[in-house]
């Protein structure tokens, strides 16, 4: 990775009314990531190229895009890892409406999150008015709290991307969020009915695409979605619980 190399980038330019791939040639220095190349294009070739980014360190989850057709963070995708013999394509996420160029309207995600019943702590169990929690119990939800809300899992999920069930299905990000709340050792909230009815967890058929694209390596399907599905099923369809619910009049 010692010297600069020249690469062709094909970047999607356009807006809600349509667009096209435009070609740019960029001299890439050692260790360049795709976001560096986009910045070079902005500086010298297309000042108004729209892109969303903040930290350029893989921590904020702003620069999500589809690079060579795969949902990735532009700031964590090294140019020298991509095939040299073909142009590098950079396109906006396809599961959300395009605003302009590489920027999409992800506001739907913020609305969905707001609809998930919030954290409800139990009474503190420590005599100093705080909570005692074992690290072992905290480990599990901590995995989910690594989420940087890049929405790449949403982008790749076929329920959203291909079937556009945005009004019925909350998507992997929000199941991870719900799992983090459900598995928080001091939470007393109950989100199972919401997960089944409003958040549409049943539509997930565990193809694990979300897990594969997660830049934080969260085991979304196995550790978050499947346990939630099991809880929903146990609650709704387990004959014993159904009987108890009936007796209690719920």
């Amino acid at each position: 990775m010692a010297t600069a190399t020249t690469h062709e980038f094909k970047v999607w330019r356009g807006d809600a009314d349509g667009g096209e791939m435009k070609s740019y040639t960029v001299e890439c220095g050692p260790g360049y990531v795709v976001l560096d190349a986009i910045h070079e294009i902005q500086a010298d070739q297309a000042q108004d190229l729209a892109v969303r980014w903040n930290c350029k360190a893989g921590k904020c989850g702003s620069c999500s895009a589809e690079i060579n057709g795969r949902p990735r963070l532009m700031c964590m995708t090294r140019v020298d890892e991509l095939p040299e013999d073909q142009p590098i394509t950079v396109e906006p996420m396809r599961a959300f409406p395009v605003l302009r160029d590489l920027v999409t309207d992800v506001s739907w995600n913020y609305e969905v999150k707001k609809s998930i019943p919030k954290f409800q702590p139990s009474a503190p169990n420590g005599d100093d008015g705080t909570w005692r929690m074992d690290q072992y119990d905290v480990d599990r939800p901590q995995e989910f709290r690594k989420c940087i809300e890049c929405f790449l899992c949403q982008d790749v999920c076929h329920v959203l991307r291909d079937h556009h069930l945005h009004d019925k299905f909350a998507g992997p990000r929000h199941y991870v969020y719900a799992a983090n709340l459900e598995m928080n050792p001091i939470d007393t909230g109950d989100r199972l009915a919401a997960l089944r009815d409003d958040l549409g967890i049943g539509y997930c058929n565990i193809t694990k695409c979300c897990t594969k694209v997660c830049p934080e390596g969260i085991t979304i399907t196995d550790n978050a979605i499947i346990p939630l599905k099991e809880r929903v099923v146990d609650r709704s369809y387990d004959p014993l619980s159904m009987l108890i619910s009936k007796i209690r009049g719920k």
Binding site: G31, Q47, N54, F119, T130, M133, V138, Q142, R145, I186
Partner: protein
């Protein structure tokens, strides 16, 4: 008349990092209607990048800790230029602010008995930083965000404020554009809180994100507020140095807190070479004692890698200058060596420092569990900022305008201790929200003159009407400024360089005023970058002016032509304000005498 959308609230909060979110939550809890304006999407602000932890004297990991020790540590770290009242409030209130996060869903790492764990950090006498691995900032901002969205706060994402609006000497709102369509928005409020963070983007090598263009500092300055101690810019000792594309990305101090050591190209642990007089008694004599400190031996003193950031950064620069640097102009930071002491050190490092492992593996091709990292100083934090009342956070000269977090000055003096920024934004974010809501309730309704709105709109649209090809373009101009500040107002400063810097900044200001941006108003980063230039150039001028005036070396401010710290310079702050002719003016302001009980605490703590 400029077309715009009018949005009215009791309290307008500008900035949605930790300080802004905390202020908004507090103001909303009083029943005030709150508008929260953020330049990016919610939850993406720079707080997300904080790594090591939040400092609070919880005394969970060492029961000897209390607010008085934290107070004394903060004052010593700041070389006594701090606002002692802010340092007092901060140390006293930080524990409650951190505990509160758990009631809102935060899950911090635990001690064996199930309380929040705390780790060692530079300049803190005891393990004091509550944390989650090395992603504490993410945990904090997400907790505040997820709590905040249920508090009835009206959030305006991807909206950038370009001017504060005034009614006489009172701030009554803000003028802004949205990034999506370039539409104008006028926020009308009885109180306005600035929580816009720092200014690292004025420098070439920085750990700071895109947004850190000094907006709050500049907005406040242009509205008549004062800036304090702007020369103190923290250069974090450990940023990545290779490859060039990642230069400046932060390597958490937590690496050193977990036992990481600094070595030069000769393999020497150079941090043992000279220990500053203020810290001699608290620093280990031998590597062996340093390691015992890391693993919690209460009789051991801290290793010299955990001295304050200003000192560590200067030491690294010295090694590089004298030819003992790493291949790419830094020093070696080695955490892999702990395998000499810890079984299964690889798993331990990955557990304690997961983001660092990931970051080096992905971006530099380095496995930190096996090899040392190359690190060097990176522009990290502005100690200086908007001058505020220590209790209420209201600016000293503009009524109804408040500031909290990094954009406010005072707490950190000449150098900030690691972990004190996250506690700063919780403590003073809350205070700003509380006092802003109170001010809004007690003060009458406000009016905004149409002429101010029209002027702000004309200024915002002007770049789109100019020739974009007449100069190098906004990105390259920003780059010129960054190179200039890095070179002449960076970690080593001197008289001639700073004078040249000021001249050149004035030249860049002229060019920025004529800069054109191509394209339309719709999500056009070229236009946005052009509008950001005013903020960047304003803070750059303030930093250079403060640095020129302070003819001594203290904390983060190093003058190679005045290497000594001078006693007489320790009794005042530098205050910058816009003069009657629109030019920047600087003056000295005596630090008010410290209260006797606080003075006693400092003396007792040695």
């Amino acid at each position: 008349m400029a077309e715009h959308q009018l949005i009215e609230h009791d309290v307008i909060v500008i900035g949605a990092g930790g300080a802004g979110l905390r202020a908004a939550i507090e103001a909303a809890s009083t029943g005030a209607s709150v508008g929260l304006v953020c330049k990016s999407l919610l939850g993406k602000a720079h707080t997300v990048m904080a790594e090591g932890g939040v400092a609070a004297a919880l005394a969970n990991a060492d029961e000897r800790d209390n607010w008085m020790v934290h107070f004394a540590d903060t004052m010593r770290g700041g070389q006594y230029l701090n606002s002692w009242r802010m340092a007092e409030l901060h140390a006293q209130e930080a524990p409650d602010r951190v505990r509160e996060l758990e009631a809102w869903g935060a899950l911090l790492d635990r001690t064996k008995d199930g309380r929040m764990n705390q780790r060692n950090f530079g300049g803190h006498a005891y393990p004091r930083l509550a944390h989650v691995g090395d992603r504490t900032g993410l945990e904090m901002i997400r907790t505040l965000q997820d709590h905040g969205i249920h508090q009835g706060i009206d959030v305006h994402m991807e909206v950038t404020v370009t001017r504060l609006l005034k009614d006489g000497d009172r701030c009554v709102g803000a003028f802004a554009y949205d990034r999506e369509r370039g539409r104008f928005k006028v926020f009308k409020g009885k109180a306005v809180v600035l929580a816009t963070g720092g200014l690292g983007r004025a420098f070439l090598v920085t750990s700071n994100s895109w947004e850190y263009t000094g907006d709050g500092h500049s907005l406040a300055y242009h509205a008549g507020a004062e800036l304090v101690d702007m020369e103190f810019v923290q250069f974090h000792p450990t940023g990545m140095v290779w490859p060039p594309s990642v230069r400046g990305i932060l390597v958490t101090e937590g690496v050193r807190g977990e036992g990481g050591i600094l070595k030069n190209s000769e393999g020497r642990r150079f941090m043992f070479d000279d220990i500053p007089p203020l810290y001699v008694d608290q620093t280990a004599d031998t590597p062996e004692e340093g390691w015992r400190y890391v693993i919690g031996d209460r009789d051991a003193r801290r290793p010299p890698e955990l001295l304050t950031r200003d000192h560590v950064a200067r030491k690294i620069v010295k090694e590089v200058k004298e030819g003992r640097g790493s291949p790419h102009g830094g020093a070696f930071l080695d955490i892999a060596w702990i395998k000499e002491h810890i079984k299964d050190s690889e798993a331990h490092i990955k557990k304690k420092l997961p983001s660092m492992y990931h970051q080096f593996k992905e971006l530099a091709g380095i496995d930190i569990t096996k090899e040392p990292m190359e690190v060097g100083p990176t522009t990290h934090y502005a100690m200086g900022g908007i001058r505020v009342d220590p209790d209420s956070q209201m600016t000293t000269t503009v009524r109804g305008l408040f500031a909290a977090g990094e954009c406010a000055g005072g707490l950190h003096g000449a150098n900030r201790l690691g972990g004190n920024s996250l506690s700063d934004l919780l403590v003073f974010g809350k205070r700003a929200g509380e006092y802003a809501a109170k001010f809004a309730q007690e003060s009458g309704s406000v009016a905004i003159g149409q002429d101010q709105i029209d002027l702000a709109a004309r200024e915002a649209l002007a770049p789109l009407e100019r020739d974009p090809g007449a100069d190098v373009g906004p990105y390259r101009l920003q780059y010129e400024l960054q190179e200039l500040m890095q070179d002449k107002a960076g970690i080593a400063r001197e008289e001639d360089g700073l004078k040249q810097a000021l001249d050149q900044i004035h030249g860049l200001q002229q060019r920025a005023r004529r800069m054109g941006a191509g394209g339309s108003r719709e999500y056009n980063p070229g236009w946005h970058t052009t509008l950001d230039l005013e903020s960047l150039l304003t803070v750059a001028e303030a930093v250079a002016m403060g640095a020129l005036e302070r003819r001594e070396s203290r904390g983060a401010h190093s003058r190679i032509d005045h290497l000594e710290k001078k006693k007489e310079w320790g009794s005042f702050n530098h205050v910058i304000k816009m003069g009657p002719g629109g030019e920047m003016e600087i003056r000295r302001e005596e630090i008010p005498p410290i209260r006797q009980d606080l003075k006693d605490i400092i003396e007792e703590q040695g």
